[in-house]
Symmetry: C2
Subunit: 390 residues, 2 copies
Amino acid sequence: MLYFDYGAGMPVDEQVFEAMKPFFTTHFGNPSSLHEYGDAVREAVEAARAQVVSFVGAGEGDKVVFTSGATESNNLALKGVARRARRRGTHIVTTNIEHWAVHTPLKALEKEGFEVTRVPVEPNGIVDADAVADAMTEETVLVSVMFANNEIGTVQPIKEIAERAHERNIPVHTDATAAVGRILVDANDCGADLITLSSNDIYGPKGMGALYIRRGVRIEPVMHGGGQEWGIRSGTENVAGIVGMGAAAELAQRRLTRDIAHLSHLQTKLIDGAFEAIPDTHLNGDRQQRVPNNVNFLFDYIEGEAMLLSLSNYGIAASTGSACSSKTLSASHVLSAIGQSNEEAHGSVQFNMGRLTTDDDIDFLLEKLPPVVDRLRRMSPLTPKGFFDR
Amino acid sequence: MLYFDYGAGMPVDEQVFEAMKPFFTTHFGNPSSLHEYGDAVREAVEAARAQVVSFVGAGEGDKVVFTSGATESNNLALKGVARRARRRGTHIVTTNIEHWAVHTPLKALEKEGFEVTRVPVEPNGIVDADAVADAMTEETVLVSVMFANNEIGTVQPIKEIAERAHERNIPVHTDATAAVGRILVDANDCGADLITLSSNDIYGPKGMGALYIRRGVRIEPVMHGGGQEWGIRSGTENVAGIVGMGAAAELAQRRLTRDIAHLSHLQTKLIDGAFEAIPDTHLNGDRQQRVPNNVNFLFDYIEGEAMLLSLSNYGIAASTGSACSSKTLSASHVLSAIGQSNEEAHGSVQFNMGRLTTDDDIDFLLEKLPPVVDRLRRMSPLTPKGFFDR
């Protein structure tokens, strides 16, 4: 089956897996133990941390805290900073296209008494930095804007937002899950104070993530316990997972230029090819300010779920919306946010590419897409009369 | 180096690792995805859940929720139940020998306005079920007592405590991290409503755990996001970790009788041998109500840290206290709780055995222990005059 769902899950890179192996059965100590077994794994954990530090461009005094994944990193960043700042203010600014892993923790904070302003994005799927700045008040203690959207791939103006927030001494968090490994995510470059990093999204193991925390950012723990990770994230370290994420980060950093070139080439080929072969096709999200792995099409008059089924019959795995919400029938909040009607949102299909995607894969997809769309349009009551006579 | 620190970290069983392997590089889909890649891993996750359900004896309507480890399971159980019950009451009962992963979340709940009663254990390291019952009030919404202590191995009367709590409709949580795989931890048998399970403690991967939740227990999530695990624990599933924990649970269940016999034999040999060879030696914690992997000695007049160093020179890795607190110099709160002075607590050393520990290992340890203790006592200012002439 041809896999076009790299946004949902990625294979662990073979080199990464090789690096992890010894930490399951051979080096099994606890990094906190004061003997040889502890020493060996403690060194491995710190070497992996150095790899992630380099990957995200962390500076002196900044911290990279390992977590169980992007969801936990987001929970830690949002709740940890907001609760810690509660006496100074209770207002948070975000957008209306965040992933559930940011949206839902913010809902939880609203129940705790915080007020959240969700700045709407423009029709191209990008939030206006001025609009975000305008939403900031004297009460604002945190701004959280995703680096790139997981459904439509749009890259947000984090640097401009961080500049505007820093004028008011407000820390900025960015969920970079859908950006890491596809574009440069660098703390200095983007200026964010907290950056959520996902391991699986850079071909590292699932169940692993990290949170970059800039020096001086005040944060309290969400998970309490033995005081690991500077007391910010307790729990015995997932040594193999950490080693894997470190190796994946090093690989991603080294390969970034190559990966971007490869993905951009495939992306252009797929978008141009589909536009040429299929009438009434739209690209959701800005074409330029976009991560190179993501293509999200709206094919007028048909349903995304029917598309997925038909593609599946040809051995093609794609998706509508995010994997997390794939079991719900409600329309994607991201597509609604860029102005799509329920009907339109239900007609959108997303193709996510990765390191292993080839030119041949795109050729195959471009061969199958037109007849699938054509067939579904012929069956659809939404297709205008006379459409096929045009 | 001879490893006597199985409480701090365990090797992943080779069979378990074999079961995990395909889920790194081959079956890398997201369990929420609605295509073949999703199907394969979703089935694997549910098969693993069934293995843990069987291991812990979960009944119909009960849930086993996968987490990133025992610390997260404890945080979820304690905060999830307490916060959900807040309008009914704000009192929690626990003991004074809990692990940091219970103690610290409870401290956090105290800051949120909860009141925590820490019932002291008896000098044998076991809490009296009546004392726990006496601490319950109309305001009590949760009782949390560890199944077995991680430092001195004492097994707590969970069944009696659960009976007493259930008379008042109070749910009982137990952290079974130091008990799983060493004695039977069965939901029906012990009656607890929430059970923290650790993967690494049954030779599964680190960074994995589970929380057993009895049908009808009201709990709110701590980690918010995509709504995985019935919305109780969000975050893309750590598929390989889950598969590993499942395989480890099945193995632990199948091997339990054998593992107990093996460990009990080694434990008896070590305790009897040390008592015979070394004067003024004490066993911390009850000898009978004790997990079979744990031996915790107090050798009068010497320091535990000096012991560890000396043992380390003979290639023996042991520990004082828990790994989590190994970097702090304060005396173990568990040893203080059983009435030891600071000096005595600093003189205690813990040996944790596992599946790979052999009779030869115990022989070697029993050969080295007496001269090490003797040498340190000769150097110690605490040794009474005339001690060596007795």
